[in-house]
Amino acid sequence: MGDHGPAKGFGRWLYTTNHKDIGTMYLWFSFAMFLMGGVFALVIRAELFQPGLQLVEPEFFNQMTTMHGLVMVFGAVMPAFVGLANWLIPMMIGAPDMALPRMNNWSFWILPFAFAMLTSTLFMEGGGPNFGWTFYAPLSTTYAPPSVTYFIFAVHIMGASSIMGSINIIATILNMRAPGMTLMKMPLFVWTWLITAYLLIAVMPVLAGCVTMMLMDIHFGTSFFSAAGGGDPVLFQHVFWFFGHPEVYIMILPAFGIVSAIIPTFARKPLFGYASMVYATASIAFLSFIVWAHHMFTVGMPIAGELFFMYATMLIAVPTGVKVFNWVTTMFRGSMTFETPMLFAIAFVILFSIGGFSGLMLAIAPADFQYHDTYFVVAHFHYVLVPGAIFSIMAAVYYWLPKWCGNMYDERLGKAHFWLSFIGLNVTFFPMHFVGLAGMPRRIPDYALQFADFNQIASMGAFLFGFSQVFFLFIVIKTIRGGAQATDEVWESPEGLEWTVASPAPYHTFTTPPAVK
C-alpha cells in the first residue's frame, strides 16, 4: 500500500474523508464562530459599558445576546470538540481513520450552511432571533420575528450534524481499537468522548422535537406551547432543559478528558485514579438526565419536584469533586513544569471549580429564588464554559499542535496569551457575581445606576479577553508556518499512541495496527 498524500486545491477539503483534514476544518470553523460570537459579546459589553442606551437599541441587543449564546454553544464549543475528536481519537486508539469517513465529511459540511442561515437572519426584516439562546415559548413562537423559521431549520441541521458525528465516534471507538487496546486502557479523552457521544444521541432528538413543536405552533395552528389554545408554556421549558442540561455536560466532559491528558504529562506522574475518573464521568452523564428542572426553580413546581431536583443537582458535586481531587493528587508529589498547555489546564481546574462552587450555591432552591436569572447565573456559567470548555480547547491546541503541524509554538507568546486571557476572563466575569447578587437581572440592555461601576470593569475585561484571542490566532498561524521542529514525542515522555507517530503526523497513520502494551 502506497502512502498517498492529500489531493490538491479546494477539492481536497470538499471531498476529503480523512479524519485529520476533517478535524482541521472543524477546528478552523469553530475558531471562526468563536470570533463571530465574540464580536456579538463585545457589542453587548460595549452597550453595557455605561447606563443608558448608547450604541444599539433593545431589539438588537436581544438579538446579540441570543446569537452570542447560540453561536458559542453550537458553533464554537461543540464543533471544536468534534474537531479534536476527529484528529485525536483514531490516533489515540490506533485506528487508521474514523469508522464512517463519508458521513464524517457530510457532518462537517452541513455546518457552514446552518450557520450561514442562522447569521443571515440578522439581516432579515424583523431581525434575527431575539428570545435568548433558551428560546422560551411563547416569546419564540407567537411573539417571535418571522426569521424564527430559519432559526428552527438551522437548529435542525446542527442537530443532524451532531448526531452523525456522535454515531461516527461511537462506531470508531467500539470497532476500531487496535488489538490490546481494551476499554479500560483507552485514554480518558476517548472515554469522555464516548460518553459525550451517547449524551448527544440521547438529547439532540429532544431538541429537534422541541423546535418542531415550535414550528407547528407557528405555522400549522397547533398549540403545544400556547396557553390560549390549551397548550402549556412550561412544557416548553421541561423539553428544552431535558436537552439543555445534558448539553451543558456535552460541553464539559471532553474537556475533562483533555485536562486528564495534559496534567500527567507536565506533572511527570501517571493520572491518579484512572478507573474512578471513568466511573465519575459516567455518573455525571447519568445524573445530567435527572436534574434539568433546576433551571426552573421559579416556574412554580410542586414542592416535591423542587426538592427532588435540588437533591439530584447537589449530588453532581460528588463525582465532579472526585475529578478535581484526582487532578490535584496527580500534581501532588509530581515534578511539575508549566508550559502553556499546563497553565491552561491548571487554570481550568481552579476556575472550573469556582464555577462548580457557584453551581452548588445555585442548586440550593431557596437561595436560587434570589440568584435565578441574574448576573450571578451569567457569572456561573461563564466560569464553567470559558475557563472550562474554552480553556481546555486552547490547552489542547497548544498541547497537540506540534503533533499536527510538526512545529513548536513560541512558548513566550503562548504564555503571554495565557496570562492575557486569564486576566481578561477574570476581570470580565468575576464582577458579574457581585452585580448579580446586588440584584441585576440578566439580558437587560440598560441598568440602574448602582450597577455602573462593576459593569464598566466587566466591559473592559471583555475587550481585553476578546483581543487576546486575535493574538491566539496569530500564534497558531505563526506556528503552522514555521518554528522549531517538534520531536515525535514533543513533550517529555507523554502517554499515548499519538506520540509514537512522526511529527507532523503523516496523512495516514496506523494503516497497520500498532502493538498496545
Binding site: N62, G300, G334, Q370, L437, P441
Partner: protein, 394 residues
C-alpha cells in the same frame, strides 16, 4: 517577525498594567464615566458585593443559607487549592522535585466520595426547611393578583375592587442621555404596589402575553409569571419602606424597562390608601359619563397615546413594533372597527386588548386622538359612553 512579537508582548503588558490599575483608577475618578448631571450613587451602594438581607424573615433566612453554603465552599476551596498551590510550589521540576509514581488508592477515592456526600446532606437540611416555609402560602391576610404584560405590571387587590397598572416613569430622554438620570433611574414607576407591613400578603402571579418574572430582592420573592398559570408566593414585610425590583424573565424588547416598586406602609396608612383608591375608581366611573369637546378629548388622547401606545406605534404614529397609524384602513375607516381593535386587541399579535387596561374615557380619547393626529384629520370623535355601550353589546 521577532520584532513584531516582542512589540505585541510589550503592548500586551501595557494593557495588562492598565487593567490591573483599573479598580484604583475607577475608585478615584468614576464620576467622569457617568454622564454629567446623573444622580450620584452613594459609595455603599456602588460597590455592593453581596445579596441583600432584605426585610422579611424569609429573605433573612435565604441570606443565611446563601452565606452558609458560601463559607462551606470557601473552606473546601482553601483545602483543595491549598494542596494544589503547595504542589505547584514544592513539587516543581525546576526546584529539583522527583516525581513519585503512585496513581491509585481505593480507600482515598471512597473517602472523597463519602465525605462530600455528608457535607451535602448537611447543606440539604436547612435548605429543605426553608423551602417548606416558602411554599406555605396558606392563611394570607391579603390577596393581590399580579399580571405581567409587555411591558408593565397590573396589580389587582382581590375582593377590594382596586386594580391598576404600574408603568416605568423614567423618561426616554434619560435613557438616551439627553437628560440627567435620576436617583432611581429605571427603578421608578407611576403607581407602586402598596402593601401593609406585618400582614401576610399572598401574590397570585400570572401573565397576559409572554413569560415574565416578578422579583423584589428585599422580599426574596421571585416567581415566574406564565400565561395560563397562576403561581403563588407570599411575604410579610417587617419594615415600612420602598423596595425595588425588576422583571427577571426575558419578555421582549422592553424587558429591562418594567420595574417593580413595592411601597410597604403602616397598616393605618394602607387602609387610608385603599379608601382613597376606591374613591378614585368611583371618580373614574363618573368621568365616563362626561361628554367632552374634541380639543379636550384630543389633548387627553395624546397623553394616553404617549403613555401606552407610542412604545410600539412610535411617537409620530409612524410605527415600530406595531404598524404605522397614519392613514390606515382602521384609523381612517369606520369608528366601530377602530374601537374594536382597542378594546379587544388583535389575537396572536403584540397588540393587546386594552379594554380592561384603560378607562372608557381614555379609550375614547386615544381613538379620537389617532383619528385626528398626524394628518389623519377625520374630524370625528367618540365618547366614553359610546365605548361603554360597545363593550356591553359585544
Amino acid at each position: 517577525m521577532r520584532l513584531i512579537t516582542t512589540q505585541l508582548a510589550r503592548k500586551g503588558l501595557l494593557v495588562l498594567s492598565r487593567v490591573a490599575a483599573l479598580p484604583a483608577l475607577l475608585a478615584t475618578s468614576a464620576a467622569t464615566w457617568a454622564a454629567p448631571g446623573d444622580a450620584v450613587v452613594d459609595e455603599a451602594q456602588r460597590w455592593v458585593l453581596n445579596m441583600t438581607e432584605g426585610v422579611t424573615a424569609v429573605s433573612r433566612e435565604i441570606f443565611d443559607l446563601h452565606m452558609l453554603i458560601f463559607w462551606i465552599c470557601v473552606a473546601i476551596a482553601v483545602v483543595v487549592f491549598g494542596v494544589m498551590f503547595w504542589s505547584m510550589l514544592m513539587h516543581r521540576k525546576s526546584a529539583g522535585a522527583k516525581a513519585a509514581s503512585f496513581h491509585e488508592s481505593t480507600m482515598v477515592e471512597i473517602a472523597w466520595t463519602v465525605l462530600p456526600f455528608m457535607i451535602l446532606v448537611l447543606m440539604a437540611i436547612p435548605a429543605t426547611s426553608s423551602l417548606i416555609k416558602i411554599y406555605d402560602t396558606s392563611e394570607a391576610d391579603i390577596d393581590i393578583k399580579i399580571v405581567g404584560y409587555q411591558w408593565k405590571w397590573q396589580y389587582e387587590y382581590l375582593g377590594e375592587d382596586v386594580s391598576f397598572f404600574s408603568n416605568l416613569t423614567t423618561s426616554q430622554d434619560e435613557i438616551y442621555g439627553r437628560a440627567p438620570r435620576g436617583e432611581h433611574y429605571l427603578l421608578e414607576v407611576d403607581e407602586p404596589l402598596v402593601i401593609p407591613i406585618n400582614k401576610k400578603v399572598r401574590f397570585l402571579i400570572t401573565a397576559n402575553d409572554v413569560l415574565h418574572a416578578w422579583w423584589v430582592p428585599a422580599l426574596a420573592v421571585k416567581r415566574d409569571a406564565i400565561p395560563g398559570y397562576i403561581n403563588d408566593a407570599w411575604t410579610i414585610v417587617e419594615e415600612p419602606g420602598i423596595y425595588r425590583g425588576q422583571c427577571a424573565e426575558l419578555c421582549g424588547k422592553a424587558h429591562g424597562f418594567m420595574p417593580i416598586v413595592v411601597h410597604a406602609m403602616e397598616e393605618q396608612d394602607y387602609s387610608d390608601w385603599l379608601v382613597e383608591k376606591k374613591k378614585e375608581a368611583l371618580e373614574i366611573a363618573k368621568m365616563n359619563e362626561l361628554v367632552l369637546p374634541l380639543d379636550e378629548m384630543y389633548a387627553r388622547g395624546e397623553e394616553v397615546y404617549l403613555q401606552s401606545c407610542a412604545a410600539c406605534h412610535g411617537v409620530d404614529g409612524k410605527g415600530g413594533v406595531g404598524p404605522s397609524m397614519v392613514g390606515t384602513a382602521i384609523t381612517t375607516g369606520p369608528m366601530q372597527g377602530h374601537v374594536d381593535v382597542l378594546v379587544n386587541g388583535v389575537q396572536g399579535s403584540a397588540m393587546q386588548a386594552f379594554g380592561n387596561q384603560l378607562s372608557e374615557l381614555d379609550l375614547a380619547a386615544v381613538v379620537t386622538y389617532e383619528r385626528n393626529a398626524w394628518g389623519n384629520n377625520m374630524g370625528d370623535m367618540v365618547q366614553a359612553v359610546d365605548v361603554l355601550n360597545y363593550k356591553k353589546n359585544q
